[in-house]
């Protein structure tokens, strides 16, 4: 299923979303709740000093890491392999999947457990493993719910099931998993816990993403609240961690800063309940640790951003703070973006990874209010990158021809004072036929789109320049 969600065109997806009242209400509630929590744990927490300094620290670390990405990836892989791990560099999703399939086949694996990971969603790993007879069990509660629903997709990078309410969840689990309880979250959660306990123990492979790789030791750092990352990395004989190639830090000291930024920005916690750091084991093996540990490092189009203005998009730590403040996401939810990466970062990232043909409209799904840029813990100038995408979209000729013509006319108009003068003078006369009670309800041409939902102001009758001239004259007379 990979990165793309749904087959419908963008505006149809938007219409579907706008019709879904529950979904929209839960997005708004989630945003309002998370915003308060996040602010309390960031700007609002005096104990950590100035949050802006933390953001700058995060940006500094991420920038340096990306600028020297080849070096740190080499270090990471070297250290991982030195301790007995296997590293596979995959340029594409297909390469990553093929490698993982091969590992599964070699182990004759039938069952795998997985902790939540967006990059495995992105490459469509579950389907790839199913193809070789290995079933992947999602263990993050939200992902577990989506998986039960067969074909449901994430609508939020941190809480993938945000669009589902508890009675929908109850019905799904009833139908697909034999659940017979109420729609109380406690009861639903307890059911998932009991269902998954044995699944954890019996899995042949444990799959995780990677919140941060630590180059200096070859460690994989995982951030969760449920404890599923611990379960997934403890009991299966084989562990496979899949990492977007940009998701690493040089040292443990840097990990500290990033985990703090992530925990506080994503969920308003000082630290998530679990920060689980796994490094291939040297010496005699633990009973509760993997015997075989693979790290799959995926490009998947990320390198297209390197060396461009979009490089800083790779600084992203997937905290969803930008999603949680986005007024567009608030109303259309995640699925309307048509990508597993939604909200502002989704609108920046999806066209980079998946191209303009597929995702070129997403950068326009923003009013450029810059709430995202303000929220981002690593200071990615998201709204500027959205504008940059629009520029490329236009330069590469994707934009609508009539819009192009209108903008050319705008350019001429806005740089030719004499034309503008004629326009301002002519506006009241020109608009006259459309004016009713001081405003325009049904405008001509491009104004039609405006007046579909709002009144358009009637041009003022007076000419401001003339007024100003007269006014100044009055001034000098007074002197």
């Amino acid at each position: 299923m990979a990165m793309k969600i749904g087959e419908k065109p963008f505006f149809d997806r938007v219409d579907d979303a706008l019709d879904d009242t529950f979904m929209r209400q839960s997005m708004a509630n989630a945003q309002d709740g998370l915003r308060g929590k996040k602010i309390a744990a960031t700007e609002g927490d005096e104990a950590i000093g100035d949050w802006e300094d933390w953001r700058s620290a995060g940006e500094e670390i991420r920038r340096h890491t990306l600028e020297n990405l080849d070096y740190y990836l080499e270090q990471l892989s070297e250290n991982f392999a030195k301790r007995g791990g296997h590293v596979f560099f995959a340029e594409t999703a297909e390469e990553a999947n093929a490698y993982i399939q091969q590992v599964a086949k070699k182990k004759n694996a039938k069952n795998a457990t997985k902790a939540k990971s967006m990059v495995t969603e992105e490459i469509g790993l579950n389907e790839a493993l199913a193809d070789v007879g290995c079933q992947v069990h999602e263990t993050d509660l939200a992902e577990y719910i989506l998986q039960a629903e067969e074909g449901d997709r994430p609508s939020h990078i941190v809480v993938p099931s945000l669009h589902k309410n508890k009675s929908q969840i109850r019905d799904t689990l009833k139908e697909k998993a034999g659940y017979s309880g109420t729609d109380q979250p406690e009861e639903l959660t307890a059911f998932a816990r009991s269902q998954l306990r044995d699944v954890f123990m019996n899995a042949d492979i444990g799959i995780t993403g990677c919140n941060f790789g630590v180059a200096e030791t070859g460690s994989v750092s995982l951030v969760t609240n449920e404890g599923n990352a611990n379960m997934v990395t403890s009991y299966p004989e084989t562990q496979i961690s899949v990492m977007g190639m940009e998701r690493l830090v040089p040292t443990w000291e840097d990990l500290d800063v990033m985990v703090n930024l992530l925990s506080r920005s994503a969920v308003g916690q000082k630290i998530t309940t679990y920060v689980t750091n796994v490094t291939p084991e040297v010496g005699p093996q633990s009973v509760d640790g993997p015997k075989d540990f693979h790290l799959v490092i995926v490009d998947g189009g990320r390198s297209k951003a390197l060396g461009t203005e979009f490089q800083s998009a790779l600084h992203c730590i997937r905290c969803a703070a930008c999603v949680n403040v986005c007024p567009v996401y608030r109303h259309i939810g995640g699925h309307a973006y048509g990508s597993i990466y939604q909200g502002p970062i989704g609108a920046v990232l999806s066209p980079i990874l998946g191209g303009y043909e597929e995702y070129g409209e997403l950068p326009y799904a923003s009013s450029l209010c810059a709430a995202c840029t303000e929220a981002c813990p690593v200071k990615i100038p998201l709204h500027e990158q959205l504008i940059r995408h629009r520029q490329i979209y236009v330069e590469e000729g994707y934009a609508d021809k009539s819009e192009q013509a209108a903008m050319t006319a705008f350019g001429i108009g806005a740089s030719t004072p004499s034309l503008f003068k004629i326009a301002t003078k002519g506006a009241p006369t020109f608009a006259k036929p459309f004016v009713q009670e001081g405003s325009i309800s049904n405008g001509p041409g491009p104004m039609k789109l405006w007046t579909k939902i709002r009144e358009f102001p009637a041009p003022g009758k007076e000419n401001f320049r003339k007024w100003f001239k007269e006014h100044k004259k009055g001034d000098s007379r007074n002197e």
Binding site: H331, Y364, M407, G411, A414, S415, K452, D475
Partner: protein, 239 residues
């Protein structure tokens, strides 16, 4: 103090009353105002839609118009914010970049200029109404101006300023976004109007022509009895 008025295209075409009020307020504060005739539009519609070249044309026009000004003052946080983007438009052109930087550095939004440059917070205004204030995104986040409008409004006699729920959310204007993404923009402005209504205010005040046009357009379309005013209109009021 000598200042140049950048009235903005929306101000010139639609909100002349607000523009006049702004002129009067500034004059009362002892400013000597001129109106550079070459000014047109800051180019934001083109810039935000991805038409960088066309935006550059508009920018050059504006830079030339305001080059020799001492201070540039405008009744729109968003348009002031666009002036601040100018240097970025000319990264490959040293001459224009330098000019753009100079223009950007001396540009102020109206309330920002009064409070931060002139150091005045009480304009002796009188306006009897229950009102709420819409903080425009660009003023708040690009210009980082969050306090000046409130400082000035808090000193308006007779004005009861009510807090606006979710004040930080965008009203759905976003320039061409309002016509490109009509269904989404509609939901955004509806939520904004709902929150405004919930305050019980009779007047919504804002310091941005774009937001004003959008929110007022929706309020009027829905026939709600709420007036929408530019902040200059309040600050110049004496009754």
């Amino acid at each position: 103090m000598k200042i140049s008025l950048f009235v903005t295209c929306l101000g010139e075409l639609f909100y002349q009353e607000a523009a006049k009020d702004m002129v009067e307020v500034l004059e009362r504060l002892g400013c000597e105002i001129d109106f550079p005739r070459g000014q047109i539009c800051c180019g934001q519609p083109a810039y935000n839609s991805g038409y960088r070249k066309d935006a550059q044309k508009a920018a050059k026009q504006m830079i030339s118009a305001f080059e020799s000004s001492e201070y540039i003052v405008t009744p729109s946080g968003s348009c002031a914010g666009m002036f601040k983007e100018y240097p970025g438009l000319f990264q490959d052109d040293a001459t224009w970049h330098e000019k753009a930087q100079k223009v950007a550095d001396k540009t102020y939004e109206f309330t920002q200029f009064i409070v931060n440059v002139l150091g005045v917070e009480d304009l002796g205004a009188v306006y009897h109404a229950k009102a709420t204030y819409h903080t425009s995104c660009h003023m708040m986040r690009l210009l980082k101006e969050t306090e000046s409008p409130f400082k000035l409004l808090n000193n308006v006699e007779g004005l009861e300023l009510l807090p606006l729920e979710n004040s930080y959310d965008c009203c759905g204007f976003g320039g061409t976004f309002a016509v490109k993404m009509v269904p989404i923009s509609e939901q955004m402005v509806d939520e904004k109007v709902r929150h405004v209504e919930e305050t019980g205010a009779d007047v919504l005040i804002t310091a941005d022509g774009g937001c004003l046009m959008n929110i007022k357009g929706r309020i009027d379309r829905k026939g709600k009895p709420i007036a929408v005013k530019h902040i200059a209109q309040i600050l110049n009021s004496r009754s």
